[in-house]
Amino acid sequence: MEKYFDATYIWESIPALLPFLKVTFMVAGLSVLFGSLLGLLLAIMKLGKNKLSQQIAHGYTTVMRCTPSIVLLFLIYYGVPAIFINFGINLNDMSSAFFVVITFSLQFGALMSEVIRSAYESIDKGQYEAAVSVGLSNTQAYGRIIFPQAFVVALPNFGNALLELMKEGALAYTIGLIDVMGKANLIIAGNYNSHALEIYIGLSLIYWVLSIMIEQFFLKLEKIFSKGRKDLKTA
């Protein structure tokens, strides 16, 4: 087997991989959507007064934090159809994207619950009291006073969670999802396993650029929103 490094493979692999970012984005987008909803629910449970739901939410977060994505992915991939078949529903023909979205929604939900909780707790209680005392209703106080401030605090952590999700999402290839990572593996298999290194380098460049873009985007966003916060403080 001829084994030497050929940089042209890197540049050739990038355009071949880029179209498959669509799949990566779609899976990540859906996971963010469902995960954020789950995270919100968990955060409400954690912040609520009910001891039992508090413990459930905290326990859930701990379990998720301790489970490697790959283990969770396979557990969902094999476990969910096995559970549903008891109810007469056959999920074996579902696209692997379905299981990937479930897995990463569960994981992202745990991350988001902490992000939302810490953002909410960072807002001084006086803010709510002040809002209510000037005659705002409960919903108004949350919608206009608490939420906008908590949003700014949560922004960088949300960005981090998103980056984490993008990277962990690369593991979806193990259950047969053809995203950028899956495509890279297909290309390598098509080359009879030669020049794997060059293609992985091309792939890593795509991920790298993507991460930097996401990071910069959130930095910009944070700047825009914290400007407003400073103005509020001085006013």
């Binding site: 030497y4 701990t62 934090r65 489970t67 396979f74 990277k167 992985y200 890593s204 991920y207 993507l210």
Partner: protein, 238 residues
Amino acid sequence: MPNGLDIPFLIDTFFVALTGVPIAMLITIVSLLIALPLGFLLALTRINRMPILNQFSRVYVSFVRGTPVIVQIFIIYNSVPLLLGTIFEKYNINMNVYEVNPIWYAFIVFSLNTIATLIEVFRSAINTVSKGQLEAAHSVGLTTAQAFIRIIIPQTLVVALPNICNATVNLIKATSLGYAMSLPEITLKAQVAANASYNYIEAYIAIFIIYLLICSLVEYAFKRYEKRLRKYQIAPAA
């Protein structure tokens, strides 16, 4: 598999997978031992803005944190044999690069990965220790090395500990990707056991429990240690 779980198999796999724990722990500990000092030193280069090294660690951290671990594993796993092969050929060393124990690749990948995480952890931790501490240490006659060992590092450690704990848990979780290097750790052992009988669910439940146990233990240990270290932390000036 329409009916329930195969409990005896689950228990069997649990013990099979347990035999993979020492390797996972070995990788974790070796990677941490390599990464802690290097991460600290590189964090210092970032803080002191040393030319070249500063830029290097910046790009390095950005790359490692911007790419999936699995891609890093594949890159190292594919590039190191290539490099070693060239070196061995040049110096006529008679050794087959494809017989190298995969654990060496694991050490490289996970150390490089953890260094990047720890650079950021230490950078923010060192920043929380005020500059006056170093100046005060100098003024009472300590050398810079002494000041760091006795004054700065203990204080940094207290602040950094929760994040080091996080990094450790992430590292343990990441060792589950060692299967990509055919490393016989927890996940691969369970997978192999499951392949024989297609009892994948039981196998993954077994390792799910194992990871849960390990990570909870590690978190507990760090919490205990943190409590002990808290003694050394100076209460913030009121």
